[in-house]
């Protein structure tokens, strides 16, 4: 069997879903232009330091649209906020809000702007 760096993903997702006090869907309010620019920069540069500047993967998994197509933006936002315990993926909830995580998740689903 292929060993995986993220072995506990389904369990982590279940726990993440339980832990998020505010439902992510309730956080849906489009960030303003300056925030969108800041978040896109964060995605490219800081997420990119593990997932690659073009999100094609590195230490972390690839995050291109085809890699995240099986998960909803809400689920991706929960992963971003809570991280994946036991792996290098950290929880970002101390640094970004649920609405911001959702914006990043939706950007992942659509692909980075060219």
């Amino acid at each position: 069997m292929t060993r995986h760096i993220f072995p506990a993903l389904p369990a982590a997702l279940a726990i993440a879903a339980l832990l998020v006090a505010t439902p992510i869907s309730a956080a849906r309010s489009e960030p303003d232009a300056a925030t969108r620019t800041r978040l896109t920069h964060l995605l490219v540069q800081d997420c990119g330091s593990c997932h690659g500047l073009t999100l094609q993967g590195g230490l972390g998994k690839p995050l291109l649209p085809e890699n995240v197509s099986d998960r909803s933006a809400e689920v991706l936002a929960e992963i971003i906020l809570d991280g994946i315990p036991g792996t290098p993926m950290p929880p970002w909830k101390g640094l970004i809000t649920p609405a911001e995580a959702l914006f990043i998740a939706e950007t992942l689903k659509k692909g980075l702007p060219q």
Binding site: H4, D46, Q56, G58, L59, P91, G94
Partner: protein, 402 residues
């Protein structure tokens, strides 16, 4: 040597040393190129644009921009022993040989899908690249960039692994770690077509980087999945990896890690090593022989690079997001932070001039490199660069284990 040079490159060859084309005004290029050495040259990775800046540290200036290097996120490079050529390892698997004297790309191959760094052998003949996809180490002829060895990283269960912490060791040997496989491999490439591999399993969970001490005695892997490091004695035949600094967090809950620390450039200072603690706002001071902790220094954030000034008297530290706008200087004799300053958002790397009188600091989100004098800490120059990350000066050519 060309008897009758017919091209500019030929001229450089005929001149023996050559010259940096970018240095010479266009009108003067037809004339004899100025001779120059390469010991004060360096390359700066411009990660967003896939380019390199060729710089010199005597006049603190940019000589040329070299473009066309692909995805340069997390790119690193090594210099050959002549200090004329650099081998650049791109994230997209590109391996590019760059000539500093002509400020140009000599050759470029895409050798893998997703690379994470490399090393050059002590004799300058072999360049090894560490890959995430497909996981393993590939070894190339430094002259032609032809692949001479391909060593997939299949762990003892036969599962593929990403490889990290690739370093050179004496006598055409490289060492690396298997991130997913929890192993350290030593590869002797004296005969590159028939490499001799020594594999050490179960070294600890998730080695994220590795480094060799400058004497080549110890290979040390940092562990992400455990509160410890693993070291391997390379001078003792049959030695097994041993865990050191076990429980350095002493049961505290580690903080989320927004950027993995790097072990390259580890602060080797006299009898001490200064090491970034994973998930803590601390730098660990460790005895170089026993790897026992002799102190820990509270710092501004989670350290990424702890780089010793070449004389070992100071160690300069940068930090992970969201505290990555700050640099601190640790005074090694007192193990205290003696200076803190804020260059700006996203300080990514530091490189000292060969004897340490100055340090260059990349400030990514200001599109700038700052140069500081290291005695007074004063900023003495600013150099424009596009989204700069790694800074590499040619004297690295003669350092082991980088």
């Amino acid at each position: 040597m060309t008897a009758r040079p017919t091209s500019r490159r030929g001229l450089f060859r005929a001149a023996g040393l050559g010259a940096v084309a970018g240095l010479v005004p266009a009108a003067a290029r037809a004339a004899e190129p100025a001779l120059r050495g390469t010991g004060d040259l360096g390359l700066v990775v411009e990660r967003a644009t896939g380019s390199l800046l060729l710089v010199e540290t005597t006049g603190r200036s940019v000589l040329a921009r070299i473009e066309g290097l692909g995805d340069m996120s997390h790119a690193s490079l090594v210099f050959d022993r002549t200090e004329r050529f650099a081998f650049v390892f791109g994230r997209d698997g590109g391996l590019t040989k760059v000539d500093l004297l002509t400020a140009s790309i000599v050759k470029r191959v895409v050798q893998g899908g997703n690379a994470i760094g490399g090393a050059i052998s002590d004799d300058g003949r072999l360049v090894a690249v560490s890959n995430y996809t497909p996981g393993g180490v590939r070894v190339f002829d430094a002259e032609t960039l032809e692949m001479v060895a391909d060593v997939p990283a299949l762990d003892r269960r036969g599962a593929p692994s990403k490889t990290v912490g690739l370093v050179d060791l004496p006598f055409r040997t490289f060492a690396w770690s298997l991130l997913d496989g929890d192993e350290i491999w030593i590869g002797d490439f004296a005969d590159p077509r028939a490499p001799k591999l020594t594999k050490h399993p179960d070294i600890g969970r998730l080695p994220y980087d590795g480094v060799a001490t400058s004497d080549g005695r110890w290979y040390v892997a940092g562990l992400f999945g455990e509160d410890a490091l693993t070291r391997l004695d390379l001078w003792t035949a049959g030695a097994k990896p041993e865990k050191v600094l076990t429980g350095y967090g002493k049961g505290e809950q580690p903080l989320p890690v927004y950027k993995m620390p790097h072990m390259e450039g580890w602060g080797a200072a006299g009898d001490l090593l200064l090491i970034p603690a994973v998930g803590r706002h601390e730098v660990l001071a460790v005895d170089r022989d026993t790897f026992r902790e002799v102190g820990r220094i509270p710092v501004h954030g989670q350290p990424v690079f702890c780089v010793a000034r070449p004389d070992g008297r100071q160690v300069w530290v940068n930090y992970a997001h969201p505290k990555n706008d700050t640099v601190e200087v640790i005074d090694v004799p007192s193990l205290k932070v003696v200076h803190r300053f804020v260059p700006g958002p996203a300080v990514l790397h530091l490189e000292f001039t060969p004897r340490g009188h100055e340090v260059w600091i990349s400030v990514r989100d200001r599109d700038r490199i700052d140069v500081h004098e290291t005695r007074t800490f004063a900023k003495i120059a600013e150099i424009a660069a596009k989204s700069p990350s790694g800074i590499f000066f040619t004297p690295r050519a003669h350092r082991l284990g980088v």
